[in-house]
Structures are given as C-alpha cells and as structure tokens.
C-alpha cells in the first residue's frame, strides 16, 4: 500500500470539502493511503512570498520537515501548495548555503530540513504509483460522452525547472488522465494562460478579465465542463462566472469541476458522496452528472 502524507492547505478545508472528498475517496479506491499529520500550517504561497520570500521558504520547509519526521513523501491537491512546497524542496536540496540559512531559522522551532522527501502533485501519484493501466482498469463508469477542457493553471507546471511535473509548453499529463477515465479532452485557445486568480483582492477587475477570456475560450471550443487542478483556479472560473453575469451580463453556464471529482465519478463514486452542492459549485453541474451516471 503506497502511503503519502496529505497536505491540505488552507482553501480546501476552508470551503472546498468536495475537492477533499473526491481525492480521498478516489485515491482510497486506487490503493493509495493518505495520512494526516498534525501541526501543518499554511504552505506560504504567493501571497506570503510577496511579503517575504525567506519566511515563505522557512514555512514551506517546516511543513516538509513534518513529513520527513513522519517518514512520508508529501502529496498536495492545490497547485499553489505544490509550487510553494516543491520549490522550497528543490531550492534547499540544491543550495547548501540557502539550506543552512533556512535551517538556522527552523532551529528556533526545533526543526531541521534534511531534504530526503519528495513533494508530489496528486496527478503525479496517479501516473507514477497507480499507473495509467491500473487506472483504466479501475474505471467502472467511463465518462464516454463528456467533453472536458483541461485547465492546468500555472503553478502545477511553472517554474518547470524546479517543479518538473510536465513539459511547460506542451503538457500532456492532464489530457492523458482525462482520456484514461473515458472522457474526451478538448483543445481550446490559450490553454496554458493564467486564470488571474491571484490578482483577486488587489485588482478584482483584472482578475475577472482574465477569467472571462478563459471561460469564453473554453465555451467557444464546445467543452461540456472544465477540469481544474487548483482551488484558486476553481474559484476564479466558478465564482467568476457569477461575477461575469453580474458585471457583463454574460452567461456561459460552463460547469467547473476538479479533475478528482471527474475521476471519482468514473470510479463509480456518486456525486452525493462528494458534497457537490450549489454551495460548492456555483455553476450547476447537473448536466455533467447526468452525462456521467
């Protein structure tokens, strides 16, 4: 049984229990054990990096230390957490001087970063530990009629030198996983462009403009839904459509789901078990559910 320490982050337990449920239940069905460790904190994503990079590295390293102490590799569900933890892990492993500097800070909390564990996005676990073949075999309800627009977001892929998840210009991992569960992956314009999520709070207008372009392109490509990898992107595109209706009077009606939710459907886990409600999905996902049951 492959086991990972689960890093939840903040957004998911805060208001996306659907994401958490879909991942826990799918991975359990696929034979991956998730362990919850005590004393984790915020991963120190871009909002904290903007205030102080050194602090962010130390905080990220602290969380990795918890996994090292418990002897597990880490798995993340949020691309922001993936980027923050993965970058810290890579940077400290590569630079002895930086590692020493951060360890000096960590010593105040009684921790020491050793650099002997990996940080993975749950997608990587699906590919490496489950494998496409076993995944395909585990699918009991292939999502045959579903046209899915893959949305990576930014921080699953970039900076590619440190994250090494997939080719930053021509990624295939998400499309492959979408096709493995029986759905059809739909190409659309400017697929890899940012959703603008991180601009929210400083410039809601710009954030909304970027989300609008994304939704419009996906809609134009004729997708049935968007598959996201990150709670930030999810909110930007889901809640974003509500704001677009209000601001521009545009209705796209494009359901936004996490890839893990689609995966859960394909593995035979019903939407009722996944806390999929109008509260968690502002844009109704009924059409998707009916196509998949």
């Amino acid at each position: 049984m492959t086991s990972y320490a689960l890093f939840l982050g903040c957004l998911i337990p805060a208001h996306q229990p659907n994401y958490e449920l879909s991942v826990r239940k799918s991975l359990a069905k696929l034979g991956i054990e998730l362990v919850d460790l005590a004393n984790m904190t915020c991963c120190a994503p871009p909002p904290v990096q903007s205030i102080d990079l050194e602090t962010s590295l130390a905080v990220a390293a602290y969380n990795i230390c918890l996994a090292e102490e418990a002897d597990y590799d880490l798995i993340t569900l949020c691309s922001g957490c993936f980027e923050s933890l993965s970058m810290a892990n890579s940077m400290l492993k590569a630079d002895e001087q930086l590692k020493a500097k951060i360890n000096k800070i960590l010593s105040k909390a009684g921790k020491e970063f050793l650099g002997n564990k990996d940080v993975k996005h749950y997608l990587q676990v699906l590919i490496d530990d489950v494998g496409l073949k076993r995944l395909e075999q585990s699918v009991s309800k292939p999502l045959t009629d579903l046209k899915v627009a893959a949305f990576y977001g930014c921080h699953a892929l970039r900076p590619s030198e440190l994250l090494k998840l997939d080719d930053p210009e021509r990624p295939r991992i998400l499309e492959t996983l979408i096709e493995t569960i029986g759905a059809k992956s739909v190409e659309y314009l400017n697929k890899l462009k940012c959703c603008g999520g991180l601009l929210k709070g400083y410039s809601d207008d710009l954030a909304l403009s970027l989300a609008r372009e994304k939704i419009a392109n996906i809609a134009r490509a004729g997708a049935d839904c968007v598959a996201t990898l990150c709670p930030f992107c999810f909110v930007a595109l889901d809640v974003g459509q509500v704001l677009l209706r209000g601001k521009f009077h545009e209705i796209y009606d494009m359901p936004v789901l996490h890839y893990s939710e689609l995966l859960a459907f394909a593995l035979g886990i019903g939407s009722k078990e996944l806390a999929i409600t109008p509260a968690t999905h502002k844009i109704k996902v009924d059409k998707v559910i009916s196509k998949t049951s």
Binding site: L37, P46, I51, T55, I105
Partner: protein
C-alpha cells in the same frame, strides 16, 4: 589581497540592493528583449503592468517609482515570463523581491497586510470556518488536525515577519 577595493558603505545602487535580495539575484542579466512582456497575460489587458518596464526602471535606479507604485502588485505569478526568458532572469521572483523590499519600506496593500495578520493569528492565510469544520464528520471527512500555530510563530519571529504587520501608510 592588497588590491581589493573597500566596500562602499555609502548607499548602494538600487539594482545592487535587488541582487542581494532572495529572489532578485538575477535582475542584472536582463537585456530588455521584451519576451516577458509579450508572454504576460496581465500586460496584455492593462498598460499598468509591464514586467520589462519594471525591471528597466529598477536597473535605472528608479526606486521610489517602482516601490511605491501600483505595478509590482499586479503580477499574477503565472511564471510564464520566467519560463521563457532567454537570459534566465527569474522575473517573477524578482517581482517578489521588489514586493518584499516595498513591504519592508511600509508600502503595504491592505490585502497583503490582512494575509500577514491571518498567518500570525491563525497559522493560515484563509481561516477555516467553524461551519465547515463542524460539518466534516457528517460529510465523511476525518477531523482536522491541529494547526501548528505556535511553531509557526517561532519561525515568523525568527525571520522578522511579525514586524511586518502594520497597515499601509497612505
């Protein structure tokens, strides 16, 4: 050796200050090719933000314009620029470094001050509401593990983060 020059203790060139900051080490490699501006989703929709321009202003020493301005906070951290830069300038990280310097010098947009407070108080930048926490058993989720706020505060104190809390000077 005897021919080493003395370190100038007088004020440093702004671009030097940036190179000495974590994240800003590569700023001087820039030769203003504009690949970053062309790759930037934000620059495409507003003239208020242009990563090439921000770097140029910093290299020219226009410290006040850069740090007190609006531009550095408009980066959406998508890293497209850093990915494509032919001189391997870590542009997104340079912008973080500039934000860090700005924050230190009390240019603190409200939302970031709020993040800082949340981190110090709750150990998280987004508070987990009791509503959702209490619902977890009913939803079939294991109880939330405690957040390591105490240890986090020790780290934040060690880096001096705790002093960065005050709201923006207008």
């Amino acid at each position: 050796m005897m021919y080493d020059e003395e370190e100038k203790t007088a004020s440093l060139e702004f671009s030097e200050v940036v190179t000495r900051r974590l994240g800003g080490e590569t700023i001087r490699r820039c030769y203003q090719c504009g690949t970053c501006a062309s790759s930037c989703p934000v620059a495409k929709i507003t003239e208020r933000f242009n990563p090439r321009e921000i770097i140029k202003l910093s290299l020219l020493g226009k410290k006040d314009e850069v740090l007190s301005g609006d531009a550095i906070w408009l980066c959406c951290s998508c890293y497209n620029c850093q990915e494509r830069c032919p001189q391997k300038v870590e542009i997104a990280d340079v912008i973080y470094a500039l934000r860090n310097i700005a924050f230190e010098e009390s240019h603190r947009p409200n939302i970031y001050s709020d993040f800082a407070s949340a981190l110090l108080n709750d150990g998280r930048i987004v508070k987990i509401s009791k509503f959702y926490e209490d619902k977890r058993p009913a939803l079939g989720l294991p109880p939330l593990q405690p957040t390591g706020v105490d240890m986090l505060r020790k780290i934040l104190s060690a880096t001096g983060f705790d002093r960065l809390q005050q709201k923006e000077k207008s």
